[in-house]
């Protein structure tokens, strides 16, 4: 069956990626490169999780940062205030975000299109207001201060930079693989059907609301893992993590990388981070520079780069192929 071969295919890619990534620290001493990959892991998971909703589910969420933020804050708070180990704190962050996703998703997925988008935005801003106001718990606008403790677990010490790198890569690849497997499964196919035509899906007896809700919960859990990685990287959590500019960043990553190819969001994340880093290094007018780059993608390519490349490949194949 087709899904069988894609599974082996996907696991193969995952192992290959893990191999290449784990060798990287041996090839370069540059901490900046490793930092880049750690951030790429965090944002790659975040953007891919959003694409579950946008690309695969047809639900454009403007508020996805609320789960990125909740992941970071819950993880940070658990580590700062309790004695649990890092894996337990991560599970706690995922569980909380999943619950949040369930509650919010149950309300949001009923709505369509721009109304869904605005509702997710509204919920996110509400949560952001809570983060800002509940100073005694969250530190308010200053975020969680004092750093996030990283006690070693199972012999893994995340205070060591290279170990953090390997951990991020492993977590990143595992999460992406998991998302891939789920999206290639019958559930994924149903989700795409719901995206393409919810009426037809309903006619076929599919509970559209339930499918959308499951997708929402899955994406919120994954987004929170991205938040956890970011919290580990900066050793803190900040209200910015749950602000609409963060949601906007995820949308740009998807748009620039490509909605319809699974790895698109990760490519987009890499692109946006790369542009951001280079522009910040070279000019004071990063708004101008980044704005022009984004315009190039929106008006020039008119789609994400992986979608563009895929279409190009298909055109070439068609020309050179039998038809």
């Amino acid at each position: 069956m087709k899904s069988h071969s894609t599974l082996r295919h996907d696991i193969g890619w995952a192992l290959a990626a893990l191999l290449v990534l784990s060798l990287l620290p041996l090839l370069t001493q540059s901490r900046v490169t490793l930092d880049f990959v750690i951030r790429l892991a965090a944002f790659g998971i975040f953007a891919s999780s959003l694409n579950i909703l946008v690309g695969y589910g047809g639900m454009v969420s403007f508020g996805h940062a609320m789960f990125f933020g909740s992941g970071a804050y819950v993880f940070g708070l658990l580590m700062q205030k309790t004695q649990v180990s890092i894996p337990v704190a991560i599970l706690g962050a995922i569980a909380f975000s999943g619950l949040l996703g369930l509650l919010i998703g149950a309300i949001c997925v009923r709505l369509k299109e721009i109304y869904f988008s605005f509702l997710t935005l509204a919920f996110q801003m509400l949560i952001h207001s809570v983060i800002l106001s509940w100073t005694s718990l969250t530190g308010g606008d200053q975020g969680l201060m004092g750093g996030i403790p990283r006690p070693p677990f199972l012999g893994i010490n995340l205070s060591d930079h290279t170990t953090l790198y390997w951990f991020s890569c492993a977590l990143g690849v595992v999460c992406l693989l998991l998302m891939r497997i789920i999206l290639q499964s019958p559930f994924g196919a149903t989700l795409r059907m719901v995206r393409d035509s919810s009426e037809r899906a309903a006619f076929l007896g599919i509970d559209v609301w339930r499918i959308k809700l499951y997708a929402f919960i899955l994406s919120s859990c994954m987004a929170s893992i991205g938040g956890v990685l970011m919290a580990l990287f900066v050793s803190g959590a900040f209200p910015d993590f749950g602000y609409w500019t963060m949601s906007g960043d995820a949308i740009f990553m998807i748009m620039m990388g490509g909605l319809h190819v699974f790895i698109g969001p990760v490519v987009g994340a890499g692109l946006l981070l790369l542009f951001n880093d280079i522009i910040t290094r070279t000019t004071e007018y990063h708004g101008l520079a980044l704005g022009l780059v984004v315009l190039l993608f929106a008006l020039g390519f008119k789609r994400g780069i992986t979608d563009f490349s895929l279409e190009l490949l298909q055109k070439i194949n068609r020309k050179g192929g039998k038809t």
């Binding site: 370069t28 001493q29 900046v32 200053q142 975020g143 004092g146 900066v234 803190g236 990063h286």
Partner: protein, 424 residues
């Protein structure tokens, strides 16, 4: 490296040249370790700051002032011929970007020292990075007391060269209490931005106001949002409650709008307004009508301290940048002055040695209350800077009769404050 030698270079030296060029360009993400070329290697100092958005002035004035001092240092020969190279990067006001930028400055751009010109949330983020990477960091724009007062956050290589909220509160409270006694101001109301700085600063001021004058009563509080554009409902409330005096720690554009809007409501007629951040050139040059009865603490004034050193510094700054220096400017200038003094004292550019030299270091400075500034040994924060409160007018010297604060008083009360907070 003599250009004549380039052609005659043996290959290892050529590789060295290319490597250093690559790392200096900063484009190479596979940064080879920067190999020292002994004498002429610049002392790289990284400065994460905010150069865009609402608070862009912070970065601009910080960078300007720091650059001015660095150029002076370099022009006078630097450290045995070695010059300071200041690398300024924009974090856009996002703490996670501040952390990333700080990390990049250290790990990729070869900065051994950080001058952190980030606002408070960014400063906490950079603080963690400096702790993590073990580099010297001097915070120049964060006024949040806990950054240095909280022993949990303290590290041997972190310093704060900026004014502190609690110092301002003690002096401001003492001054305001006196004025309250003189003018019989019993009913007070506060109006400050709703975020950590606004809340903490206002609470501290109110505490010390009551401490120095038991007769005052806080009859109301208003908490507009930071960067809120319209203050009409806040002003209306102030008019309804009708206090005799108002305190605010609004700053910058917010303060200017608030004063402008209050003026058309005639809010200040018959009231005294204590605005800790008003004596700042950004505000004073923008407010069209300075109301009577406006008191402020000096953020930066070229007329206080009224010394040639201070006026000269301000003139140099204006000559170079065609702009009046702001509070952030003097703090960063002082930081560079401390840094260069410590490098000379330690006779080294090693972060640890500089940190040891900085502890308890006193330098001559135009910004000192008595000509000197000190980085206190026990908590690494700036003391002895010129602090004064006074009534403001609409033109130079803006604060005609500054009432200088007493550092003896500050030290006593601050120690007691720390004990209460559990910091001691």
């Amino acid at each position: 490296m003599n250009s004549k030698d380039t052609k005659v270079l043996a290959s290892p030296k050529r590789r060295l040249l290319i490597q250093s060029a690559a790392s200096i360009a900063g484009v190479s993400s596979l940064g080879f370790p920067a190999i020292s070329l002994a004498q002429n290697k610049p002392i790289r100092v990284g400065m994460p700051t905010i150069l865009s958005g609402r608070v862009a002035m912070l970065g601009q004035s910080s960078g300007n002032a720091a650059n001015m001092e660095v150029e002076r240092f370099n022009a006078s020969g630097g450290f045995g011929g070695r010059k300071i190279e200041l690398i300024i990067r924009d974090s856009k006001g996002q703490p996670q970007e501040a952390a990333r930028v700080a990390r990049e400055l250290v790990t990729s751009d070869g900065c051994e020292i950080l001058i952190d010109a980030e606002a408070s949330s960014g400063a906490f983020a950079v603080h963690e990075v400096a702790r993590d990477l073990g580099v010297l960091v001097i915070h120049t724009c964060s006024e949040t007391s806990s950054l240095t007062a909280d022993p949990k956050l303290r590290t041997p290589m972190a310093f704060r060269c900026a004014r502190q909220g609690v110092h301002d509160a003690i002096i401001g409270g003492a001054y305001a209490a006196k004025v309250a006694k003189e003018k019989n101001l019993r009913r007070w109301m506060t109006c400050s931005p709703d975020y950590a700085y606004g809340r903490d600063t206002t609470a501290e001021f109110a505490e010390y106001l009551k401490f120095f004058n038991k007769d005052v009563e806080l009859v109301g509080e208003a908490w507009p949002k930071l960067f809120q554009a319209d203050y009409s409902e806040v002003i209306t409330r102030l008019l309804q409650v009708n206090p005799q005096a108002i305190y605010s720690c609004l700053w910058g554009g917010d303060l200017t709008s608030f004063i402008d809007q209050s003026n058309i409501y005639a809010l200040f007629s018959g009231k005294q307004f204590f605005s800790v951040n008003a004596a700042d050139y950004a505000v004073l040059t923008n407010v069209k009508n300075v109301p009577l009865g406006l008191h402020s603490g000096n953020r930066y004034l070229q007329s206080f301290p009224n010394t040639p050193a201070n006026t000269n510094w301000s003139s140099s700054y204006q000559g170079k940048f065609k702009d009046l220096p702001l509070n952030w400017a003097w703090q960063n200038a002082a930081a560079v002055q401390f840094l260069t003094a410590a490098i000379k004292k330690a006779k080294s550019t090693d972060g640890k040695k500089i940190a040891q030299a900085l502890e308890g270091l006193s330098i001559d400075s135009p910004f000192g209350a008595n000509g000197k500034l000190t980085l206190r040994a026990d908590d690494h924060t700036l003391v002895d800077y010129a602090l004064a409160w006074g009534e403001l007018s609409g033109k130079e010297p803006f604060m005609k009769s500054p009432v200088p604060g007493s550092w003896k008083q500050i030290t006593e009360l601050e120690a007691e404050w720390k004990k209460r907070k559990g910091f001691a």
